[in-house]
Subunit: 172 residues, 2 copies
């Protein structure tokens, strides 16, 4: 039934440390509060990422653009419990400023989050994070996305179908 909410944006949720980064593709990411700034991400209960976030109580939401599609696919299909995903990806993990989980240099934004709540939602755990720091590239100015010049990655629907937004801006 969840296909009716698609297409949805695709992000990377980065758990672990700079020594052992573990990125995972995540469509199920949502803003939750302006003040304090908060977001949420739902992670499958059986995922390695769930275990890592529960232990360390922080994570990073990294914002890829279309150029990182192959890396996003690896992060979404390889199991971090069995293989070191970072070695199979082209991206560079860099230290975050306020959390242990690393950021991704090639992503256009990295939202550093501290876990403030965990809620069981069916077959997933919903992690509520307070955003304690953001770093970003030129796809954003004044905190707003540059939708004319950057292709923000979307999952068209589950499986290997992706798309991105049009550059057309509509005014009501």
């Amino acid at each position: 039934m969840l296909g009716y909410l698609y297409p949805l944006r695709t992000y990377l949720v980065v758990a672990g440390t700079i020594e052992n980064p573990n990125p995972m593709t995540a469509d199920w990411v949502v803003p939750l509060s302006f003040n304090p700034p908060m977001l949420g991400v739902a992670i499958g209960k059986t995922r390695h990422t769930r275990k890592l976030i529960e232990e360390q109580k922080d994570f990073v939401i990294a914002v890829p653009t279309v150029e990182l599609l192959k890396d996003v696919w690896v992060a979404g299909t390889v199991s971090g419990a069995k293989e070191r995903k970072a070695d199979k990806m082209s991206v560079t993990f860099v230290e975050s400023q306020k959390v242990k989980a690393p950021s991704i240099k090639e992503c256009q934004a990295n939202l550093e989050c501290r876990v403030v709540n965990e809620v069981e939602t069916g077959d997933h755990i919903f992690f509520v994070g307070e955003i304690v720091n953001v770093t970003h590239g030129d796809a954003f100015s004044d905190g707003k996305p540059d939708t004319r010049n950057y292709k923000f990655l979307m999952h068209a629907f589950t499986g290997s179908n992706f798309t991105y937004q049009s550059d057309e801006i509509l005014k009501p």
Copy 2:
């Protein structure tokens, strides 16, 4: 800081009843579980919609396409506490099959939800809903969105800037 997650899909969350429908524009909607099917929506604490959902314990997430942009704008800017929004919109409210909150005929999908949890997240309340029924139009077949033939509405960033997805499908 939440602008770094945009652009995001825009939906309508419908509270109230067929006699007194109250639609609100909502970008902060997220899938939460495959089995049972669940989704979440974050609603500002001061919103009339929050009160309605807390009382009735159900809501509908309706999926508009670009043709409904003007209605989406009304639903997002008029206060349901002060005015009857439904009268200012062109859409038709119809009875849902399994919840009291109505569906919207012109929307391409209506996901009927029963509230199973409410979580305080900063200045919003995050309602966790189990999806108990879905009705849909021809923008979806086999539960998948038809991204080539339908323009699924997106909020480019906060304010009056909207966009929609490209019709290009990328394969990793």
